[in-house]
Point group: C2
Chain length 204, copies 2
């Protein structure tokens, strides 16, 4: 995709630079592949810009996405060792959030999801990260574990220049409304339809 | 997305392990964002598996995707330094393919695209890479610079266990037919529609 020019220039009194640096809420939704993978690809690009990256995985299994986690955490160590790129934090709900005293198997996923969101909301207020990835975060909203209105308000009111990416199927219409950029990943053809099982490097 | 079980188990005489390790042709198409970003996210995961990664960018501008290129090439150097992950090669058509004697501005994009494809075809035969990313490769096919039937045959006949990802809008139906996994990225909402210009870290 070429960089392109905007379809229209808004009469908002902002300079090109200000418009260029406007922080975005991005949503990757739909039933196709690539929602999380594209988010982590964005983290790659952000790391290279020296951004502070925070990933929060709202999924049950701690094993999930281990490939991306290992590489992004490796890049975070590289930053500490050499100053290249930016810092990376990767937190997952799987076996209890890393900041939580409750480790081990999570019994109450709703409470764990709320705890994760509360921490994210605190960090948004504190401007901890430049890019926040909330992986599979549509599900706790869909299941009513996390209040959609509260999320939408926290996103709309976040200070500074924090980009936020939210991934997962069935994004709430209110989330779509507050987002600047929404991409739907649609499955056209998937090998599991033909009996192919998930495989290393492709699925995880 | 949970790892899940296949919708059906095919009667093809293959073991689960053989099916698990079947090499895939993946196509990321559609007018939305994330096609290339998801491909580079996959490269991240492949690198972590120790795969040999080859990226070929069939785009004019050499500046394009510089963020991903820098990070993936950095990971390639990390592999050479420490043995972690796998090797990475990144080639782009921009100012002449790196293996070509013709450097500088490319006048004949059709010839350059064909030269790039010929090299990719040779590498597929030689099983040079474990993951081959052909970024924006749908366009040379669409514009008739590279023969679709030739690409489809080369993909179908490739030996060994080479995964191939092709990105770009307007994927040819023959390419869709030969692919194992096709995802369409659809634009639901894009900030450029509201006059937002492309920005560092997000667009490149």
């Amino acid at each position: 995709m070429p960089k392109g020019l905007p379809a229209s220039v808004p009469d908002d009194g902002l300079s090109t630079r200000q418009r260029r640096n406007r922080p975005l809420v991005m949503v990757h939704t739909g039933d196709g592949k690539g929602k999380s993978t594209a988010a982590f690809g964005l983290a790659l690009r952000g790391w290279n810009q020296g951004w502070n990256i925070g990933v929060f995985q709202f999924v049950k299994s701690a094993k999930w996405r281990i490939g991306e986690q290992e590489v992004l955490e490796r890049l975070g160590r590289l930053h500490r060792q050499t100053g290249e790129g930016g810092p990376v934090e990767w937190h997952k709900m799987g076996s209890g959030w890393s900041w939580s005293r409750k480790q081990g198997d999570v019994d109450d996923h709703a409470a764990a999801a709320r705890e994760g969101w509360n921490e994210v909301a605190r960090r948004l207020m504190a401007q901890t990260h430049d890019l926040v990835i909330l992986d599979e975060f549509t599900y706790p909203m869909k299941w009513g574990w996390v209040d959609v209105d509260e999320v939408v308000t926290a996103l709309a009111d976040r200070p500074g220049y924090q980009h936020v990416v939210i991934t997962g199927r069935d994004a709430d219409p209110k989330l779509i409304a507050v987002a600047d950029l929404v991409t739907e990943m649609t499955k056209v053809k998937h090998p599991m339809d033909a009996g192919q099982k998930g495989q290393k490097g492709i699925e995880w």
